[in-house]
């Protein structure tokens, strides 16, 4: 609850005055989780397979006589490969492409979301 500051009126509540009025080096009550030691440094391998081979084949079109387009390299959901849209466009595209094999509850939620976003974008706000 963020309302503790509003209770500072009474004298008996000085114990609940927050940290700004006490020096940090007096100690910190254990309720406020403050770290006094550094965590162990996390070891990052800058040359693992993914990082070493990042960006390879991104220019496969230019260098490879345009047999493939870089968007064909993207791995992800079918309705999002090589395509970008706002949320309503994504929902509509998902429904068109995979709607017939979604779970019933998920399809129902998707339909609700589409109708909500349609009304939101086309009837409210500055841009209609």
């Amino acid at each position: 609850m963020a309302g503790s500051l509003s209770w500072v009126a009474g004298r008996r509540l000085w114990g609940m005055v927050p940290l700004a009025c006490r020096s940090f080096f007096l100690g910190v009550p254990r309720l406020f989780h403050v770290r006094v030691t550094l965590p162990p440094p996390k070891v990052i391998d800058r040359w693992n397979q993914k990082r070493a081979m990042f960006g390879v084949y991104d220019n496969i079109g230019i260098l490879g006589n345009f047999e493939k387009h870089p968007k064909e390299l993207i791995k992800g959901p079918v309705w999002l490969r090589g395509w970008k849209g706002n949320e309503l466009q994504r929902c509509i595209r998902k429904k068109r492409m995979v709607g017939n094999r979604m779970f019933i509850d998920d399809l129902h939620n998707l339909n609700k979301r589409i109708s909500f976003l349609y009304k939101r974008f086309n009837r409210h706000g500055k841009h209609r």
Partner: protein, 252 residues
Amino acid sequence: MQQLVRAGARAWLRPRGCRGLSALTEEAVQSAEKPEPLANAGPQAPVLRRCELPVPLHRRPVQAWVESLRGYEQERVGLTELHPDVFSTAPRLDILHQVAIWQKNFKRISYAKTKTRAEVRGGGRKPWQQKGSGRARHGSIRSPIWRGGGVAHGPRGPTSYYYMLPMKVRVQGLKVALTVKLAQDDLHIVDSLELPTTDPQYLTELARCRRWGDSVLFVDLEHEDMPQNVVAATSGLKTFNLIPAIGEQRAR
């Protein structure tokens, strides 16, 4: 970070007539017509290559040493001329930045998703009557101000960040990368990627001896059959990587 570009004995020709790109990219066409250096001859003939594609009259080709990976001391085995439109363009760092950011982002699909108040289980009934109970009025227990309720404006579903830069911008990015690498002495042209041994230690020793730096990228210009020794040696090392020319990434 260094790049070694191998010129193969066989021609590496990519017919570009279909898209009319012959004026745009002749990069890394270190192909053909270079005489194979004679093995076991005493002082070997230098490997020379002229630029095949027409060079504009007001510019001259850039020259670079050809090295060899067969021995520790075989630097400066020959000389090659490189097309100025590819290897000495303007150092457009802004284009390089655009291409770098594009490469990072266009493949990105973020899978973050939160449930809205409509998707969270429950919350169809009004928790208590509108008036009379003394509590604040609420319509459902899953509204965003409730604990356990839905998120109002959270990430929604897998989002894609795909976009394409114009092809000419990407091409220029490749040219600028090659220019910058050559100008900063990080590009080494090699007559062939054949190594005398399969030992990864040979490569690290070679890199240390010729002062290439911590990481080296080997780019193979020929078709797909790379010599076994290089494949075996680079597969054992993390910072030495081998890619075909199609996969040539802009400067790492």
